[in-house]
Amino acid sequence: MSGLKLKGLRKAYGGFEVIRGVDLEIEPKEFVVFVGPSGCGKSTILRMIAGLEDISGGELFIGDRMVNDVDASKRGIAMVFQSYALYPHMTVEENMGFALKYAGESKETIKRQVAEAARILGLEALLSRRPKDLSGGQRQRVAIGRAIVRHPEVFLFDEPLSNLDAELRLQMRIEIARLHKELGTTIIYVTHDQVEAMTLADKIVVLRDGRIEQVGSPLDLYDNPKNQFVAGFIGSPKMNFLPAKIQGGRLSLVGYAGQSLPLPPLETAPLDGTEVMIGIRPEHFTKDGQAALELTVEIVENLGNETYAYARQGHAEMLTIAMQGDRSTRPGSAVSARFDPQKMFLFDMKGERIF
């Protein structure tokens, strides 16, 4: 199995740069997930790796081979598309064997490989069906099967689960994780869903506007986001952000009637009056926290295993609080949201993390 190396990768459409210099190393057998908001360039990078888009600048290595000018079919990759992209007039068996036929494989080899892929994916009973007679999940399996039979060095997935309903999405997510274990291939997986990213990835690459914001393991990104964007993107529900001002060595909360919090130790002490952003994860509100925010609950969501309260003080920003099993909270009630100031994050106004 091959690793990949992206060196200063760029892509421009008619003078407008959508990928602005991406450097990344992917180890062999690694499961890498690209996440980022819609339009940030995830698909474009994936398609450049696949050979479906020309590379405007930089170098792309698969294994030790520079593949900038290598045809898509010769890169040792296979891709699974969001729309499945199955050949509608062919049966499941023909869909999976089609590439092998043109790779010059013998009839027996094709039959064996297709049967093997069908076994791995549980498609044996469906081999003579057409895509239109399959459910969404089955189609996605066929698309994966079509990729498997070619024994690629690298699998590329572009939002493969976006067209499935929630239950199937979960089921296929587990399936893909299992496949990765079983096949041991390098996988690059694109999604805008941070839950998919957190659960599947060995390594997450967070993208914004054609640039990498941060690379790291899921827990790395959760515990140590480099900036406000990554902090807000990773974690569900989203991190709360409270604007604050530094005054007399303390954090004065904006919109909280003069309440202030102790300033954590920073590398360079900021000047009085500097505006900053405090980040607190909803699950970091705990009963034994040393600091407290006095809030009024507006909305309560009971999910059974967890209860989320949406609360604020006056007209300040609405905060999300995980109630840690406390189901008694009602809209309109007052809550003292306690948290440990050691666990909060601090960002400067450019969004860079300072604590």
Partner: protein
């Protein structure tokens, strides 16, 4: 089931609403069709007709002009329709490629003939292919021919002119159907094929053509019917000549009815030959294109 009064009233107004259309259809479509079927068993000249049983059908087999017209029509059909369908497909695929520049311009240029009047373009082709016309002048200027080709005077070349003309007129028309169908195909299917290493010719024959099969069937049947009824072009360009070398069935029906001593009965019989041909060929085409499991 017992009918309520309300149900019966609704029934009556329903029929009342469609009655005018039914009457018109009956008078101008169904009646003439039945009448012509009846006529095809009549013999005689002008209004002086009598029941002749199968004599018109026997006459068909002994009529050298009919055999000639039938042969010409089938020749046009066998050569022109496949060429046109293939060209229309290729143009459609090329014009659908995002890499092609000036796509809009080419699309318009290829489709434009389909909106020109049949008579106008026929006259244009007649002048292009006349002995001192543009085509001959070009051939001579390019040194491809010494004195030009006698297009209209030669049975072989006259057929070529007719085939060229109808191909020019109808290729763009068929292309539009393919283009519309192609634009509905998910682009990622071709991207998947590219990654799968499927060569371009296989992408065309094994992916594009099968996916367009319903549209190809439709255009083939429509073109078959159109060519079996070919009239305007031959009437205006060659008048069926030389020596009936381009005479078509429709033209022969016209001649039987309006040019020679009117022979309505026999003309109706020839019309039914076209009906039978359309039915047989459509059936064959449906059969060939059926979904095999």
């Amino acid at each position: 089931m017992a009918q309520t009064r309300l149900g019966r009233n609704e029934n009556i107004s329903g029929w009342a609403f469609i009655a005018p259309a039914m009457v018109l259809l009956g008078i101008f479509m169904i009646w003439p069709i039945l009448w012509s079927l009846w006529m095809s068993f009549q013999t005689g000249r002008g209004m002086n007709m009598s029941f002749g049983g199968l004599s018109n059908i026997i006459r068909l087999t002994e009529d050298p002009i009919f055999v000639k017209a039938l042969g010409n029509t089938l020749t046009f059909l066998a050569i022109q329709v496949p060429i046109m369908i293939m060209m229309a497909l290729i143009f459609a695929v090329m014009l659908n490629s995002p890499r092609l520049r000036f796509r809009g311009l080419f699309r318009t240029a290829i489709f434009l003939p389909a909106v020109t009047s049949l008579v106008a373009y026929s006259i244009l082709f007649k002048s292009l292919f006349s002995t001192d016309g543009f085509v001959n002048a070009s051939l001579i200027a390019l040194g491809l021919s010494e004195r030009g080709v006698n297009w209209m005077g030669d049975p072989f070349y006259a057929k070529i002119v007719i085939i060229t003309a109808i191909t020019w007129r109808w290729t763009g028309y068929n292309m539009i159907f393919y283009l519309a169908a192609l634009q509905n195909i998910d682009k990622s299917i071709y991207e998947a094929a590219r990654i799968d290493g499927i060569p371009a010719h296989a992408q065309f024959f094994k992916i594009t053509v099968p996916m367009l099969k319903p549209v190809i069937l439709f255009t083939t049947i429509m073109s078959t019917i159109g060519t079996l009824q070919l009239f305007d072009e031959v009437q205006n360009i060659t008048l069926g000549g030389p020596a009936n070398a381009t005479l078509t069935l429709s033209q022969y029906i016209y001649n039987l009815t309006f040019r020679f001593m009117p022979s309505f009965g026999y003309a109706a019989t020839v019309s039914y030959v076209i009906v039978v041909l359309v039915a047989i060929l459509s059936f064959v085409q449906f059969y060939v294109a059926r979904d095999r499991k």
